[in-house]
């Protein structure tokens, strides 16, 4: 690789996890393999491993989230790390403290990892650029830019059902334009070698030049787009977009882009249906599909914990492998 990737250390090991962009197929596969190992921890009577004992992880959520925050928290706890959940709306930032001040103060409390979600694209990169050398940043969603752990939990869910990425047709349906999830998914699917990635959306909800930028095929008709697909990924429609003239009414959206058993009929018989949650039932999909035999939506939630354990332990484990002089400095 010629350009240095801010997520990797000098040896190419994962230090931060900010975006799928620029990561190799080998590294993504390593994350999936590690996650596979962590899936077993949930089967133990004590659902915990001592790997990250004594590490401190701070969840910095500037945007609300239930699923992502709780699965990050559970992941850290299953690794035996200590977790701080910062309720940002009631904390110092509300009093005017800058992001960097927040970072510096938490670093002074010897936090080893920050899990960050922010409405502004690029926040996680900004924090990684300014964090102390022994600190890791994990992006839990920044603006419209990236949500890499969501993409990786989706990849794990796909691989557990369809192990051969090189053979797959995957359709992503919904608001591609505003979706950091879709962006990360497209990058991950293409990096892992999926030959046929399709995006299905009304013209108003597709980025311009999406086909060239991501190596995908755009469709504007749902039945046509999911034809012979192995995997159908539905995205959440943010209801606030309904008011911004990009979308017709919910009812009309469902008529055209809502997933029903009938529309799914053109996909492969053993196709799986995914959704990052929370589902707007009757908008993105019918309850019949969401709760049907092809839905793997709850598996995605379970796999999310394992993927987050993998990413966190890889970053935390690599922290001490830097230059020896740095190591000495922290011990002095």
């Amino acid at each position: 690789m010629t350009t240095p990737n801010p997520q990797l250390d000098a040896q190419g090991r994962l230090k931060h996890f900010l975006t799928i962009d620029g990561l190799s197929r080998e590294l993504l596969t390593e994350i999936l393999d590690q996650a596979e190992g962590f899936l077993g921890v949930a089967q133990q009577a004590v659902k915990k491993v001592p790997l990250c004992r004594g590490k401190v992880v701070a969840n910095l959520f500037f945007e609300t989230s239930t699923r992502t925050r709780t699965t990050f928290e559970l992941a850290a706890k299953r690794l035996s790390a200590d977790v701080l959940n910062l309720n940002i709306s009631t904390s110092s930032t509300a009093k005017g403290e800058t992001l960097l001040d927040t970072l510096r103060n938490l670093e002074a409390m010897h936090v080893d990892m920050f899990v960050v979600r922010h409405a502004e694209s690029g926040t996680a990169h900004f924090m990684a650029a300014h964090a102390a050398p022994h600190v890791s940043i994990v992006n839990a969603g920044d603006g419209r830019h990236a949500h890499p752990t969501q993409a990786m939990l989706d990849m794990l869910t796909i691989r557990r059902h369809k192990p051969d990425f090189d053979q797959l047709s995957v359709a992503i349906v919904g608001d591609i334009l505003h979706s950091r999830v879709a962006r990360s998914q497209m990058l991950a699917l293409r990096t892992l070698g999926v030959p046929d990635v399709r995006v299905i959306a009304p013209r108003t909800l597709l980025p311009t030049r999406v086909e060239e930028a991501f190596g995908v095929t755009a469709y504007h008709d749902l039945s046509e787009g999911v034809r012979d697909a192995d995997v159908v990924i539905m995205l959440r429609i943010q209801r606030e977009r309904m008011n911004s003239a990009l979308l017709p009414s919910e009812h009309e959206y469902f008529q055209l882009f809502g997933l029903t058993e009938e529309r799914l009929a053109t996909a492969k018989p053993e196709a799986i249906v995914m959704h990052p949650g929370p589902i707007n039932r009757g908008v993105e999909m019918d309850s019949q599909v969401a709760d049907g035999r092809r839905s793997v939506i709850l598996e995605q939630v379970t796999n999310g914990i394992a993927v987050r354990m993998a990413v966190m332990s890889m970053c935390l484990g690599n922290q001490h492998l830097g230059s020896p002089s740095q190591e000495e400095a922290t011990h002095a």
Binding site: G37, A45, V46, K48, P50
Partner: protein
């Protein structure tokens, strides 16, 4: 890995596993244990355990244990690259376990394996069977049954290669052995 030569060939290993089988059988009889649960430690321990499991004719499936998440050197070497999920087919609570590994040296793997097992439950007893019990112990751990017992130089590493055929290889290396 530096240059290695064969320390024990397949025939010698198979004979040693026969001896281990006999000793385990005697030990189980002496202790009145009828349904032991056998668990192999990844990767070499599983190969040895598969053979012991077949020869003892145990009814329940073999368990696999990966100790990567319980290693004591995480903060020094980071994640182990090849983690396989642990698989315990039945609960370990109140069961008599036979834990199997290929080489017992520092004792750190067995320490970690105990911690894994106790996160699955509270076994009635744990018997340790290893193919080779060698020098270099760093923790107070001993094998109950061993196929070979031998001493080596501190820089000599003995490694089981497999799954087919099983060979024990001897190599010299500068640094400390992997586990």
């Amino acid at each position: 890995m530096s240059k290695s030569d064969i320390w024990k060939d397949t025939a010698a290993i198979e004979t040693a596993i026969d001896t281990m089988t006999e000793r385990l059988r005697e030990r189980l009889e002496r202790r009145g244990i009828e349904r032991p649960l056998m668990i192999g430690i990844h990767t070499g321990g599983v190969w040895v355990a598969e053979r012991l499991h077949a020869r003892l004719g145990l009814a329940e499936p073999l368990g696999h244990l990966d100790i990567s998440f319980y290693r004591d050197d995480f903060s020094r070497v980071g994640m182990h690259p090849q983690v396989r999920p642990s698989y315990l087919p039945v609960g370990v609570d109140d069961r008599h376990l036979i834990l199997v590994d290929d080489v017992l040296q520092s004792g750190r793997t067995i320490r970690a394996a105990h911690n894994v097992l106790f996160d699955y439950g509270r076994p009635a007893s744990v018997t340790l069977a290893v193919l080779l019990e060698r020098d270099g112990r760093e923790l107070p751990i001993a094998a109950d049954v061993a196929g070979f017992e031998a001493g080596f130089g501190a820089d000599e590493q003995i490694k089981l290669s497999g799954p087919e055929p099983l060979l024990m290889l001897r190599a010299r290396r500068g640094a400390n052995p992997i586990r």
